[in-house]
């Protein structure tokens, strides 16, 4: 939580918070969404659809556990199908939440204060979706705990030289730290809800969750230190997570995978798709919950600019991949390039270039950047594009590697789709519940941004002089 209290009402920039808000109006407005707002038909309808998709997902998972991964389209040579594509896609989406909550915190970008809460929730749910795929992809998913080093009667240990084991550590650490970061941020707001509600039961529930937080400045002091430390720790962590994910590929020798550009290119792609998801969520949320005062055009425009910038880093990645395919002179890499452009999956590659590189360029126009409808659809386009990117990386490389006798094709089955779309339902259902049960915008952090919080008394050191 950074200290600057000014609200910029520049001529060009939209304000971070609409002027006129006070401590009380911020608390009332955000708490009312959780405490007072009746459940409306729109929410019920959306939740119902997501819930049905979630049931479809559970059905698919039950059948998967019953029959095994043979119900998917995976087979040698393509052993990594949708499961790994979706794993990388979901975990990438999570990265934007941590970027907003941690990196922008350290950079004192105070505009983050109104979008960090739901972006962190998005991270949490996205990482949960991502984490399911490697486990579902295990032949015997009930033995997933063999991945952790624990003393066992089989006298074996995990192979710490394997990127797949690194991945286990990176992803579980990421999930844990994202969870505590989110929860620590919630504690003061849970206390606010506890103090605002008139319902005894609600008061007890939020009171238990707030753990007796009483807003003491001593507590705030330690809280701020812990929050900043978490920000400082989550920053290298988030960069490391997608780096480790990219090691899953780049440590292998498969053409198209064995390249040093993967870590930065993966991280940039992650943030690209993550901000797209932030916009896809923020645009309807601010509209339906009338919080345009807190999630203003400034937030949408800044997110669009982050997308544009990271999109160009991704474009650089594509260009350099192509350059190295040619300049490296390796026949298999040269073939990979030909295969991407003219092989059986060429259509996906052109779709990727179109969705990830061509369409987002209209974000250069301020009119588009400040139009929520356009932003919403461009973000959907980027999400599709980034999913295609992971599809190209996983499937095209595996389908034709070194020996033509080992070439093959991958056709996803209905169960592949059921589980992929099912995680979308799981993610959306979690978001629907989150919006109604927890404050979607940080109450205490927003208060530091309004003029009422401005400190005009002299600093103590000056007083004593």
């Amino acid at each position: 939580m950074a200290r600057p209290t000014e609200v910029e009402v520049g001529e060009q920039k939209a304000p971070v918070i609409q002027p006129g808000h006070t401590f009380a109006s911020i608390t009332d407005k955000i708490a009312a969404i959780v405490l007072l707002r009746p459940i409306k038909g729109g929410w019920l309808f959306g939740m119902l659809i997501c819930f049905l998709i979630l049931q479809w997902f559970l059905l698919a998972v039950c059948y998967l556990f019953y029959k095994g991964v043979g119900i998917w389209g995976v087979n040698i040579p393509i052993g990594w199908g949708f499961a790994i594509v979706n794993f990388v896609w979901w975990i990438g989406i999570g990265h934007a939440g941590t970027l907003i909550s941690a990196i922008l915190l350290l950079l004192r970008q105070t505009w983050r204060n109104s979008i960090n809460r739901f972006a962190e929730a998005m991270t949490l749910f996205a990482v949960a979706c991502a984490g399911m795929f490697p486990i579902l992809h295990l032949g015997r998913p009930w033995l997933f705990y063999w991945l952790f080093p624990y003393p066992n009667t089989m006298s074996y240990w995990p192979n710490f030289r394997s990127p797949l084991v690194w991945d286990v550590f990176a992803v579980t650490t990421y999930l844990t730290i994202s969870l505590v970061f989110w929860f620590v941020g919630l504690i003061p707001d849970l206390a606010s809800l506890r103090d605002q509600t008139t319902n005894r039961f609600v008061r007890v529930v939020y009171g238990l969750l707030a753990m007796g937080w009483r807003n003491s400045v001593r507590h705030w002091n330690r809280y701020e230190t812990a929050y900043l430390l978490l920000g400082g720790l989550a920053t290298p962590l988030v960069l490391s997570v997608h780096t480790v994910v990219s090691f899953d590929f780049s440590v292998g020798i498969v053409p198209g995978w064995h390249t040093t550009i993967f870590p930065p290119y993966f991280v940039a792609g992650a943030i690209y798709s993550g901000f797209a998801m932030v916009l896809v969520l923020a645009i309807p949320i601010r509209k339906f919950y009338n919080i345009e005062d807190f999630i203003t055009m400034r937030h949408l425009e800044n997110s669009a600019m982050v997308m544009l910038a990271t999109g160009w880093i991704v474009a650089y990645g594509y260009a350099f991949e192509a350059f190295m395919n040619w300049y490296g002179g390796d026949p298999y890499e040269t073939f990979l390039r030909w295969n991407r452009l003219h092989g059986p999956y060429a259509g996906f590659y052109y779709a990727l270039l179109f969705t990830n590189l061509v369409v987002p360029q209209i974000l250069w126009f301020k009119k588009i950047r400040t139009n929520p409808i356009w932003l919403f659809f461009i973000s959907l386009d980027v999400l599709v594009g980034m999913w295609l990117e992971r599809f190209i990386i996983v499937i095209v490389s595996l389908s034709r590697d070194f020996l033509n006798s080992a070439f093959g094709m991958y056709y996803p089955t209905q169960w592949d789709w059921a589980i992929f779309i099912g995680t979308l339902g799981f993610f959306s259902a979690c978001m629907f519940l989150f919006l109604r049960l927890l404050p979607a915008v940080s109450i205490s952090e927003l208060k530091t941004l309004i003029p009422q919080a401005e400190i005009t008394v002299k600093h103590e050191a000056e007083v004593h002089q």
Binding site: M1, T22, F23, A24, T27, S155, Y156, W157, F160, R161, V165, W166, F169, T173, T176, I177, V180, F181, P188, A191, S192, R194, D195, Q196, L208, M211, G212, W213, R214, N215, S216, V217, R218, H219, W220, N221, R222, Y223, E224, T225, A226, L229, L230, L233, A234, P236, L237, S240, V244, F247, S444, E445, K447, T448, A453, I455, T456, V457, E460, V463
Partner: protein, 178 residues
């Protein structure tokens, strides 16, 4: 005579700058067992009541060092002593490949230490506290600032302390029943 049924006296302020000035005056008047409450972090307020340093960073550092050394030693021990496998004569202690897990465990342990250290130093979870007995205190998480002088303070005197607090121009002064 001190009344055991009274935990302290609470003054309420509706302006952040008034609260900071009042907290400084309280500290300057010699009260030490005091606390202030605000709906968002206000560094100046904790400074004003004489709270300058906290141990969270130290706890975080210790946790991080434990995670770092623990993770590396575990991997080293597994690969060289407990489960050594000779693969083409490569070194058993191939430390560069242990760095990633070491790094992740450093982050995990320091992050969890920071959070649990913060909660422990704050004495949370603590579901009951006497300040909650004051009905107006619900506003501490909304828009009001509070200063409490505990009855356990050496200088505390029911009438004198109340008079002192009333002189600080608060919105209200109330007794905190214990």
């Amino acid at each position: 005579m001190k009344d055991p049924r009274i935990f302290g006296l609470m003054a309420e302020f509706d302006d952040i700058n008034d609260a900071i000035k009042a907290a400084r005056s309280t500290y300057a008047a010699g009260y030490r067992k005091i606390d202030a409450y605000a709906p968002f972090p206000v560094e100046e307020l904790s400074e004003a009541i004489g709270f300058h340093r906290n141990g969270v960073a130290l706890v975080c550092l210790v946790g991080g060092l434990l995670g770092c050394t623990g993770a590396f030693i575990l991997q080293w021990w597994i690969n060289t002593i407990s489960y050594p496998i000779n693969i083409g004569g490569r070194p058993l202690n191939s430390w560069p490949s242990f760095i990633i897990v070491t790094f992740e465990m450093t982050i995990l342990f320091s992050g969890l230490s920071a959070v649990f250290g913060m909660l422990a130093l704050n004495g949370l979870p603590m579901p009951y506290h006497p300040v909650f007995n004051v009905p107006r205190f619900d506003l501490a998480s909304k828009d009001r600032f509070f200063i409490v002088i505990f009855a356990s303070d050496k200088k505390y005197d029911p009438a004198g302390t109340r008079q002192f607090l009333e002189g600080l121009n608060p919105v209200s002064v109330s007794e905190v029943p214990s």
